[in-house]
């Protein structure tokens, strides 16, 4: 198995280059890749092809100083993420501070709703988006924005805009994009929750708060019950959560709280935020990160694209490795040039005609009767005996469309040698088999080699 010699970012760079080349290809310089060595493997091999694409891309990037331009979109993404994280932290802090009133009370359920409630809604949307494969649901506004960004049509694209277009296409759409945006989402919510939690701890460290709760719509027993339900995992972990009397004692408008109740509420609050907010987000962040890496690992270039078809031929062009193992000792010896025999040579009177391997469909000229068609050794021997005995001119008919080989040449030579006069050669043709001029010349060459003079060659 071949080793993977490329990373996801290599593929992204290749894609960026594809976009740039398709739009601004004529502005690039290609000098450095002119003499790239040929491929070593005889069959097509995806990793090898990508490796060669990578080498080509690196050369082009270096030669045209595109490095910074190609890195720009990723840097912009990182910068945007940082800004997003800071904004999320500020929002988290603001949400936590909103729960603290001037009278040193801390509205416990308001805080849980602000920090965990919205988080829960976003989490449910994300889960349904992921399970139903609806990116707009799982990524929310971010996904909408990122899906719109690459589709923004620029009338006059530049190298930078093409590079960022390609980056968005490969990094923010498809499977990679789905998980990358998920990672970003979880990071934003984590920083929101973490900022809220840290601020709360700081506030609670510096000041003494009374924990209160109240409800307008719900029956009085609901929130204490909810406290118990939410608190049970914390209790299981050995933490002390408010018991029923402590909960009832914290209802808005009741008397002051003791230190134990405050401690129990603080533990409950911090515990709930960690267990129901930060912990699941961390878990999902980890999962999304793994999935992002996995989909990056599985990311494949669309080799059906014309750009890659062209490059595939160029970089992986299969040169058949042929090897001559039994050489021709006469290699390089060119056949001698030969002049075309005169036209309109007429058939001699009283000629005795012999056919050379003729098929039944090859016609003789009128008035000529074929005495014998030579098809094997026996008929050849008979013909030689006949030719030897006659004094009239001998006419040898060959099928002009057929190829004169050494066997035929030897046969004709033997006939010529046994003849008492210089025989005539006639090139017979049939309408179904056209004769090329190269083929005619092959016969003329044969005639010369057999000692038939040019004026004895009849072309019809």
């Amino acid at each position: 198995m071949s080793v993977k010699k490329y990373t996801f970012s290599d593929l992204v760079r290749i894609e960026q280059l594809r976009k740039i080349e398709s739009i601004k290809g004529e502005e690039l310089s290609y000098a450095s890749i002119k003499n790239m060595p040929g491929s070593t493997s005889s069959d097509f091999n995806y990793p090898e092809f990508i490796h060669r694409l990578k080498i080509r891309a690196n050369h082009l990037i270096y030669e045209n100083a595109l490095g910074n331009k190609l890195r720009q979109p990723n840097q912009q993404f990182i910068r945007a993420r940082r800004i997003g994280l800071i904004i999320a932290m500020i929002l988290g802090g603001l949400a936590a501070s909103q729960a603290v009133s001037e009278s040193s009370t801390l509205n416990i359920y308001w805080l849980l709703v602000v920090l965990l409630g919205f988080n829960l809604i976003s989490l449910l949307l994300w889960i349904s988006g992921i399970t139903l494969n609806l990116q707009s649901l799982s990524g929310g506004i971010i996904a909408h924005l990122t899906r719109w960004l690459p589709s923004r049509h620029k009338h006059d694209p530049t190298i930078v805009s093409s590079a960022s277009h390609a980056w968005c296409e490969s990094c923010l759409t498809g499977n990679v994009g789905k998980w990358r945006i998920s990672v970003l989402m979880h990071q934003l919510w984590l920083s929101y929750l973490a900022a809220g939690l840290v601020l709360l701890i700081l506030l609670m460290l510096a000041k003494q708060y009374n924990f209160i709760w109240g409800t307008t719509l719900l029956p009085d027993g609901t929130l204490p019950k909810l406290t118990q339900i939410l608190g049970s995992p914390l209790e299981a972990a050995g933490l002390k959560i408010p018991d029923d009397p402590q909960t009832i004692a914290s209802r808005i408008g009741t008397s002051k709280q003791d230190a134990e109740t405050r401690m129990a509420w603080a533990t409950f609050l911090i515990g709930s935020l960690i267990v129901y907010g930060i912990f699941p987000r961390l878990l999902l962040l980890g999962l999304s990160w793994i999935m992002q890496k996995w989909s990056e690992h599985r990311f494949k270039l669309d080799l059906y694209l014309p750009y890659y078809i062209e490059l595939r031929q160029h970089l992986m062009g299969r040169n058949v490795k042929a090897e001559i193992i039994d050489a021709d000792p006469q290699a390089g010896v060119k056949p001698v040039d030969i002049a075309r025999p005169p036209e309109n040579v007429s058939i001699p009177a009283n000629a005795q005609a012999f056919g050379i391997e003729l098929d039944t469909a090859t016609p003789w000229p009128e008035r000529v009767v074929c005495r014998l068609n030579i098809i094997d050794q026996e008929s050849h021997d008979t013909a030689i005996a006949l030719i030897n005995s006659i004094k009239t001119p001998v006419l040898l008919g060959v099928a002009a469309h057929r190829l004169p080989d050494r066997g035929i040449q030897r046969m004709i030579k033997e006939l010529v040698d046994s003849s008492n006069t210089k025989p005539w050669l006639i090139l017979l043709s049939k309408p179904s088999a056209p004769v090329t001029s190269a083929r005619e010349f092959a016969w003329f060459r044969l005639a010369e080699a057999c000692g038939i003079p040019a004026e004895h060659v009849i072309t019809r």
Partner: protein, 468 residues
């Protein structure tokens, strides 16, 4: 005489196949077609074009499976037969194989039968022989002698009938003659009119004759089949991409009743369609390994990178059996070839209303341009129905030709003739869907991930590869 040992390191593993036959029967052509390469050997319409033994290796996934040996033609089989008979008479007790070995050992460089000796030498070194027959030739004594000599080597022989297209009678005669030699396992493999099935059958015949190589040959068959399917799929996908590219293309037209501007836009559109088609043709040639060089030599109707046939030239529509009576088609034939489409088609207007009514972000995203156009009074121009039809039919025809073109073919690829190519059943639906999505013009992850686009692509690819 110095004869190189063929690939001695891999020799025991690889299957060695000698391609033999009379001169000019298409031995080199067969190997070219099997290698899918126009570069192997020399093909000429002359005797003794190949005068040496040349080896090429076929591998499956970079693992060499077999060696093919191109041999010179057996030109003078009568003399060869006589020589062997003489040797046989001299050493009566020697088995026929030994006589052949002795013949090869005795031959000198200047001997007239040196070329034939090369063939016999390679035959003795090989595991199996492919005996290539030009079925247009009558079954003469010399062919019988060739078969007799080859049989003497004791190697399995597969007679391969070449140039069979349109020569059924001759083929039948040849079959009858070969039966006399107990050669029933023949194969029809036209090196010019290529079919992948024939190639597959060739390997399968070898499998039956060479049991020990069965698994490795099967591996090769499977690999070649995958490769072939990928090749055809690549071609079809490229054409689907062209159709999407042209169908989704549009030019905005802002000036009203300005003839010069109109004709400029028209020219731009024509230019776009022509270039797109040329680009596609180029890619198809690349996919099937018929290079530009090949185009020049073989006069495929492309001159200076241009189709000899212009898609907008009059008469093309008729050749493709399209309805020349329709107004749109008349326009196309006259070189107009373009429909004037208002406001990005009816959906544009509807969506403009929808967006105004607050249909939301996604509507704006999709129809933003149309809304702008409606406000500005811009019109769109796009390639018309007939242009797209011609484009599709031509490309389908071309694809079919390339899929059946052997790499030994020397003739001109005629792509202008009408064939029985048909448009897909729901062609209109496909095209109108494409037209409604101008953003699909270029490849993008969003487009390729769109189920509707995928459906159209699958449909087009399926129809393009459907050879019924």
């Amino acid at each position: 005489m110095m004869v190189k040992k063929p690939n001695s390191l891999n020799a025991p593993l690889l299957l060695n196949i000698a391609v033999v036959g009379h001169t000019n029967t298409g031995k080199t052509s067969l190997i070219r077609t099997m290698l899918r390469s126009t570069e192997f050997g020399i093909i000429e319409d002359a005797a003794g074009t190949t005068r040496h033994v040349e080896q090429a290796t076929i591998s499956a996934n970079n693992e060499p499976i077999l060696n093919l040996y191109d041999t010179p033609g057996l030109e003078d089989s009568r003399a060869l037969f006589a020589q062997i008979k003489k040797l046989q008479a001299r050493s009566k007790l020697s088995p026929p194989l030994q006589v052949l070995e002795q013949f090869v050992a005795d031959i000198s460089v200047s001997d007239p039968l040196e070329q034939e000796a090369k063939v016999i030498r390679q035959v003795l070194r090989s595991d199996i022989l492919l005996y290539i027959i030009d079925v247009r030739e009558p079954f003469l004594e010399k062919y019988r002698l060739e078969l007799e000599i080859l049989t003497q080597s004791g190697k399995p022989i597969i007679p391969v009938f070449n140039f069979i297209a349109g020569h059924d009678q001759e083929l039948t005669k040849w079959r009858q003659h070969l039966t006399a030699f107990h050669m029933h396992a023949t194969l029809e493999f036209d090196t010019v009119a290529f079919t992948f099935d024939a190639e597959k059958r060739l390997y399968q015949k070898m499998q039956t004759l060479l049991e020990s190589h069965y698994d490795r040959l099967q591996k090769l068959i499977d690999y070649r089949a995958t490769l072939w399917n990928q090749l055809c799929l690549s071609g079809a996908k490229r054409i689907a991409e062209l159709i999407a590219n042209v169908a989704c293309y549009r030019e905005s037209k802002t000036t009203k009743n300005n003839l010069i501007a109109d004709s400029l836009i028209e020219n731009r559109l024509h230019d776009f369609v022509r270039k797109a088609e040329q680009h596609c043709l180029h890619d198809l040639l690349v996919i099937f390994n018929f290079s530009e060089k090949d185009v020049e030599i073989q006069n495929i109707p492309v001159s200076n990178g241009q189709w000899q046939l212009d898609i907008f030239a009059p008469g093309i529509l008729k050749a493709y059996g399209l309805d020349v009576g329709s107004a749109a088609a008349k326009g196309a034939a006259a070189g107009v070839g373009i429909d004037l489409m208002v406001g990005g088609m009816s959906l544009g207007a509807a969506s403009a209303l929808g967006a105004i009514a607050g249909a939301g972000w996604s509507t704006f995203k999709r129809y933003g341009d149309e809304i702008k156009a409606t406000v500005k009074g811009t019109k769109w121009q796009c390639a018309d129905e007939t242009t797209l039809q011609v484009l599709y039919l031509r490309q389908k025809h071309l694809l079919k030709k390339l899929m059946h073109r052997g790499h030994a073919a020397q003739d001109t690829l005629q792509v202008d003739k009408t064939d029985d190519e048909k448009l897909p059943n729901d062609w209109n639906k496909l095209i109108s869907t494409l037209r409604q999505n101008p953003s699909w013009q270029e490849h993008s992850a969003a487009r390729n991930g769109n189920p509707q686009y995928q459906q159209i692509e699958t449909k087009l690819v399926g129809e393009l590869l459907d050879e019924k």
